[in-house]
């Protein structure tokens, strides 16, 4: 288990008071989604595509700087991309079409462009999403999703998940401590059985906790919906500020399409 426990869900959040931190979560969510849509819509094979990707990168880095997010944090966000880097590197080798020689390897031209384009698009979107996760608390993101009309029951499920993820995670951590203090080292088929018993016990404990939580909620008058503070609608200015990111990206895309 190479993952740190305790505060698992807030691991990506970087407390701060920057302009980006203070934007309403629903506006940030839509802004990042819009930015990703524009990035995805940029044609890979166009001659001006590299210039457009550079412009997008500058936009994201600008927002990250305004939010006070360092390059180390952004780089750590990119770790999730690794399996797809392998896939993208494979593309020039297996794709069809005219071949070109690079360092003695016969690679497909369209595969090279496509692989590069995929990497660029994935990287840009992950950077934008990393900025979102680093500047918005999980609870606040949930409010944003609620504001964006996510079904009520799904919001409740997410709320319980976010509230109890760290509880369940630290339960798992305690089980590991207990296991290792009894001299367990793992490995082999016996290890699988021990880990499975751990996961099984974790499920039973989580489920029973859910049952207790439900009874506690019932005894406090739960009738199918959670009382919660009104979600305050955001003003026009924060919305405009948040949406300036996808708007700038659209401007880059249009410029490229017209000029290039």
């Amino acid at each position: 288990m190479g993952v740190t426990h305790g505060g698992t869900l807030t691991a990506r959040y970087l407390p701060g008071t920057s302009v980006v931190h203070r934007l309403p979560p629903q506006a940030k969510l839509l802004a990042v989604l819009g930015f990703a849509v524009v990035v995805v819509a940029t044609p890979v094979h166009a001659g001006w595509a590299p210039a457009a990707y550079t412009a997008y990168l500058l936009l994201v880095l600008g927002v990250a700087t305004a939010a006070g997010i360092g390059p180390g944090r952004l780089a750590r966000g990119l770790v999730v991309e690794i399996p797809f880097v392998a896939f993208a590197l494979l593309l020039p080798v297996v794709a069809r079409g005219p071949r070109v020689d690079v360092l003695g390897l016969s690679l497909s031209e369209s595969g090279l462009a496509a692989g590069g384009g995929l990497l660029a698009k994935a990287t840009l979107s992950i950077l934008a999403a990393t900025v979102l996760a680093a500047t918005t608390e999980p609870r606040s993101l949930l409010r944003g999703l609620e504001r964006l009309r996510l079904p009520h029951l799904l919001v409740q499920i997410l709320m319980f998940m976010i509230r109890y993820a760290d509880v369940v995670g630290s339960e798992l951590h305690r089980m590991r401590v207990a296991r290792e203090s009894r001299g367990f080292t793992g490995g082999g088929v016996r290890g699988l059985r021990v880990m499975a018993a751990t996961a099984g016990a974790l499920f039973v404990r989580s489920y029973e906790r859910g049952e207790r939580v439900h009874l506690a909620m019932l005894s406090r008058g739960y009738s199918g919906s959670m009382p919660g503070g009104r979600v305050v609608p955001a003003g026009a200015r924060p919305w405009a500020l948040a949406l300036s990111l996808p708007a700038a990206a659209v401007a880059v895309l249009l410029t490229g399409a017209l000029v290039g």
Partner: protein
């Protein structure tokens, strides 16, 4: 391993997004038949369990270890509709809080890992459970077969989506066979872990395993006379 933004063209992303939204809406309705008004807390806690469970590294074989995807495990434990909701919640949190899986590809990821893996997995589970004897071994065999097949099924569905809406001209056959080969191995690991975990839950709380409902029999009460050994205890 989630699909990031830009791997599939906007039309494919949009189609899978609509499909995912429709299924989740249906699952929200149907999950109430599995869990009634306990849906929110129980599905939420189960999602938290899946989220934590995906971080556990299981030793598989020859020094390799893997982690769970959990679609079939969740479906067998809490029922398919609730499982769709749990997987959706996990994927949503991973996309929004961890930038794992693109926001525009969220529909694709939910379709592959939340919907397809659960539907194929639970379908195989039900099919196998119907022909196998209604015993603990039968349920575990059905679980293993379902978990094993759910992984290559999701991988092949990804290849199909990539062939339809991918942005690159690649020989689909080559990619499909490579992906299938790798994911058959991953499927074996998923099956080993899923069977072991379901077995562990069956041993302590068989009543909590949704897929093992047929196993439940009324406990037989027997009249036991106190014996010398019992009295000595």
């Amino acid at each position: 391993m989630h699909v990031p933004d830009g791997f599939l063209d906007p039309a494919t992303s949009l189609t899978t997004g609509v499909l995912a939204a429709g299924t989740v809406a249906l699952a929200l309705k149907r999950a109430r038949t599995e869990l009634d008004d306990r849906t929110a807390p129980l599905a939420g806690l189960t999602a938290a369990f899946v989220f934590a469970g995906q971080m556990v590294n299981f030793p598989i074989a020859a020094g390799t270890s893997g982690h769970l995807i959990g679609a079939v495990l969740t479906a067998v434990l809490v029922g398919p509709w609730t499982a769709v909701l749990c997987m959706t919640a996990v994927l949503l949190v991973q996309a929004v809080l961890f930038a794992d899986g693109g926001l525009t590809a969220l529909g694709t990821n939910i379709t592959l890992m939340g919907l397809l893996a659960v539907v194929v997995g639970y379908g195989v589970f039900r099919g196998l459970a119907a022909v196998l004897p209604r015993t603990r071994a039968g349920v575990l065999t059905a679980t293993g077969g379902a978990a094993f097949l759910s992984v290559p099924a999701a991988a092949l569905a990804f290849v199909l989506l990539f062939a339809l809406g991918g942005t690159v001209d690649v020989p689909v056959g080559t990619v499909a066979s490579a992906m299938a080969g790798v994911h058959l191995l991953i499927g074996l690991g998923e099956a080993a872990i899923t069977v072991a975990v379901v077995g562990a839950v069956l041993a302590v709380r068989p009543d909590l395993v949704h897929g093992a409902r047929g196993l439940r029999t009324a406990a037989t009460l027997e009249d036991r006379r106190p014996t010398a050994a019992g009295a000595a205890r």
